[in-house]
Amino acid sequence: MNNPRRLSSSCSMTNIKSRFTHGFLRALSRINTRKPSTTREICKRFLRVKLAADASMASAVGSRRAWSRAMLLKMRLRRRTCRDSRITNDKKKKKKMSGSDQKEEVNGIRKAEELRGLVPGGESMEICKLLDETAHYIKCLSTQVKVMTTIADFYSL
C-alpha cells in the first residue's frame, strides 16, 4: 500500500516544487526591490521573506493537506489583524505536562504534543493523522530547503 502512495507523492512533489519555486521567486522579486540599507530593514525583509516562503509553500500544496490549510488560514487571519497580534501568535506557549511522566505512554503523549506544536494545524489531530501530516510536512520542508538553498546560491554568485 505504501508503494503507490510513494510513487504518486514523488510526482506530486516535483509539481509542488515547481509551484513553490515560481511563487517564491515572484514574491522575492517583489520584496527585493531596493537595497537594504539598515539592519532594521534587513530584519523586516527577513520576516517578509520567511512569510513568503511559508505562503508559497502552502499555496503550492493547496488545500489537500490539513497542515497547508491550517497555514493558509493562519496567514489570512494574520493579514486582517495588526502586526502586534501576529507576534503574539508566534509566541504561543505549549502546555506543560505535570505529574509523574514515568510511563512510556505519557512520554509518548508529551512528544506527540510537541509534534503538534511544530506541525501547523496539528493541535486538533489524532496521532494517526498527525503522523501522516508530519510525513508530508517533512517532505515539503525538505524541498523548500533545497529550493531556497539553490536560490541563495544563485543569488550569491
Binding site: 527577513f46 521573506v49 520567511k50 517533512i138 525538505s142 538553498t149 544563485f154
Partner: protein, 441 residues
C-alpha cells in the same frame, strides 16, 4: 541448555509447593541425570548427553524430522522413557518442547553452523553438530510412539487446545523442515513453541526477536503465538489457554488496527527521517522526528534571512533562475570555478559552510537524540571541528585564514544569541549580515 536447568527447586520436593516451572525444571534435571548415566555409552562427549536430557518425548519429535534425526538408538531409549508417568503433562510439554531443540539441532547438524548467541538452545545445537545424522528408520518407529504419547496428552483435562497447537506446530515444523535451507526457521519455530510455555528458561529477548521474525513468516499461527508470548511473559505461571489470537471484542480489534496503522506510519517516517534505522522505540523515533522538523524549520528561517540580506539584482530573470534551480549541480560546479573576489568572499565562505550546516543540523540531531536542551549548548562548540574537517569548505578557499575568524565569530554569536534559535545555523546569519554591511560601506 544445561545451565538453564539449574532449578532452585528440590528434585523430589513437594510439587504442590513449587510453581509449575520449578517442577518442570526439577524434572528436567532429574531426567538429565538419569539419561546421563545411560547415554554415556552412546556418545563420547558428555555434553551430548546433556542435550538429550529430558528426552521423554523425544520420539514424537523425531517423527517430524525425517531424514534429520540423529542417532536411532538414543531416540529409542528416550522414547522408552516416555512411558514414565508425568504428574502434569503440562510439565512434560515443555520438556518435549525442549527436546525438540536438540533433536532439531541434530537434524540440522549436517549443515548447521553453530552460533552461540546467548541463545541457550543454540548451545545445545552446537554441541550436537558433530553428530552425524543417521536416519529415518528411527522416525518411522517413533511415529507409533508419538501416537501413544498424544493419547496420553489428550487424556489430561483441557488438552485439546494443546493438541491443536501441537499439531499446528508440528505441521509448521514439518513444512519448514522439508525446506532444508531454512534451518534457522526450524530453530525459531521450535523455540517459538517452547516460548509459549517456558519463557524463563530462555532469554526472552531472543524469543521476542524470533517471534517477531516468525510473525511475519508464518501466517495463521502468528497472531496466536504473538499473543501467547505476550501473555506468558508477564507472570511466572504457565497458562495454557484455548485458542488465542482471536479478538473477542470489537474494542481490541479496533485497538489493534489502530496500533498497526500507527506503526505503519512510524515506519514510513523512519524512512523519511535520515538516521532513524537503528531506533526502535516509539519515543525515540518521535524525538528524532521532532528534532528533524525543528531543524528543517530553522533552516528555512535561516535561508530566508540569507535571502533577505542578499543584494537584489536588477537583471533578475525568473526563468533563468528556474533553470538554475532545476539543475543545481551545474550551479555548484560553476560556483567553484568563479574567481574569488573579496566582495563575494563572505558569501563563498558562507555557502559551503551553510551546506555543511544543513548536514550538521541533522547529524547533531541524530547523534544526540536524547539530549534536548543540552544539544543546543553543545552544538556550536562542535561546529568548528566539523567545519575544519569538511572537504567542501577546503575546496573553496584555503581555510587557514578563515578558520580562526570563523571560530571567533561563532563564539561571539553563540554568546550573543541574537536570533531566535540556538541551532548551528544561527550564528552565520549574523555574520553574513555584519560582513554584508561592512562590504557595502
Amino acid at each position: 541448555m544445561l545451565h538453564c536447568l539449574n532449578a532452585p527447586g528440590n528434585l523430589a520436593g513437594n510439587c504442590t509447593d513449587m510453581t509449575v516451572l520449578e517442577r518442570q525444571r526439577a524434572r528436567m534435571k532429574w531426567q538429565q541425570e538419569q539419561i546421563q548415566q545411560q547415554q554415556q555409552s552412546y556418545f563420547s562427549g558428555s555434553e551430548l548427553s546433556g542435550v538429550f536430557s529430558g528426552q521423554t518425548q523425544a520420539g514424537q519429535v523425531a517423527q517430524s524430522f525425517q531424514g534429520l534425526v540423529g542417532c536411532e538408538s538414543v531416540l529409542c531409549e528416550a522414547v522408552n522413557r516416555s512411558v514414565k508417568p508425568d504428574p502434569g503433562l503440562e510439565n512434560g510439554w515443555p520438556e518435549m518442547g525442549k527436546c525438540e531443540m536438540p533433536i532439531m539441532g541434530l537434524g540440522s547438524c549436517g549443515g548447521l553452523v553453530s552460533d552461540t548467541q546467548g541463545f541457550q538452545m543454540n548451545g545445545a545445537i552446537s554441541r550436537t553438530a558433530s553428530c552425524p545424522p543417521t536416519v529415518a528408520a528411527a522416525a518411522a518407529d517413533t511415529k507409533a510412539r508419538e501416537a501413544a504419547l498424544h493419547e496420553k496428552m489428550s487424556s489430561a483435562a483441557g488438552r485439546e487446545s494443546f493438541k491443536k497447537r501441537k499439531a499446528d506446530k508440528f505441521q509448521n515444523t514439518k513444512v519448514v523442515i522439508e525446506d532444508d535451507t531454512k534451518e534457522k526457521r526450524i530453530k525459531a519455530n521450535a523455540e517459538e513453541g517452547e516460548s509459549k510455555i517456558t519463557t524463563e528458561q530462555n532469554s526472552t529477548k531472543n524469543n521476542s526477536n524470533i517471534n517477531s521474525n516468525i510473525r511475519e513468516s508464518s501466517g495463521d499461527t502468528s497472531k496466536e503465538n504473538s499473543k501467547a508470548s505476550d501473555q506468558v511473559q508477564k507472570p511466572d505461571y504457565i497458562h495454557v489457554r484455548a485458542r488465542r489470537g482471536q479478538a473477542t471484542d470489537s474494542h481490541s480489534l479496533a485497538e489493534r488496527v489502530r496500533r498497526e496503522k500507527i506503526s505503519e506510519r512510524m515506519k514510513y517516517l523512519q524512512d523519511l527521517v535520515p538516521g532513524c534505522n537503528k531506533i526502535t522505540s516509539k519515543a525515540g523515533m518521535l524525538d528524532e522526528i521532532i528534532n528533524y522538523v525543528q531543524s528543517l524549520q530553522r533552516q528555512v528561517e535561516f535561508l530566508s534571512m540569507k535571502l533577505a540580506a542578499v543584494n537584489p539584482r536588477l537583471d533578475f530573470n525568473i526563468d533563468d533562475l528556474f533553470a538554475k534551480e532545476m539543475f543545481p549541480a551545474s550551479t555548484a560546479s560553476s560556483f567553484q570555478q568563479i574567481g574569488i573576489s573579496p566582495e563575494n568572499s563572505a558569501y563563498l565562505q558562507f555557502n559551503p559552510v551553510q551546506q555543511v550546516v544543513s548536514c550538521c543540523g541533522l547529524e547533531i540531531g541524530i547523534n544526540s537524540p536524547d539530549m534536548g536542551l543540552r544539544r543546543t549548548i553543545s552544538a556550536p562548540v562542535s561546529i568548528p571541528e566539523i567545519f575544519l574537517d569538511t572537504s567542501c569548505f577546503t575546496q573553496v578557499q584555503p581555510p587557514t585564514a578563515w578558520d580562526t575568524d570563523l571560530q571567533s565569530l561563532l563564539n561571539v554569536e553563540f554568546h550573543q544569541g541574537r536570533l531566535t534559535t540556538p541551532y548551528p545555523s544561527q550564528p552565520f546569519a549574523g555574520n553574513i549580515e555584519a560582513s554584508n554591511l561592512k562590504m557595502e560601506m
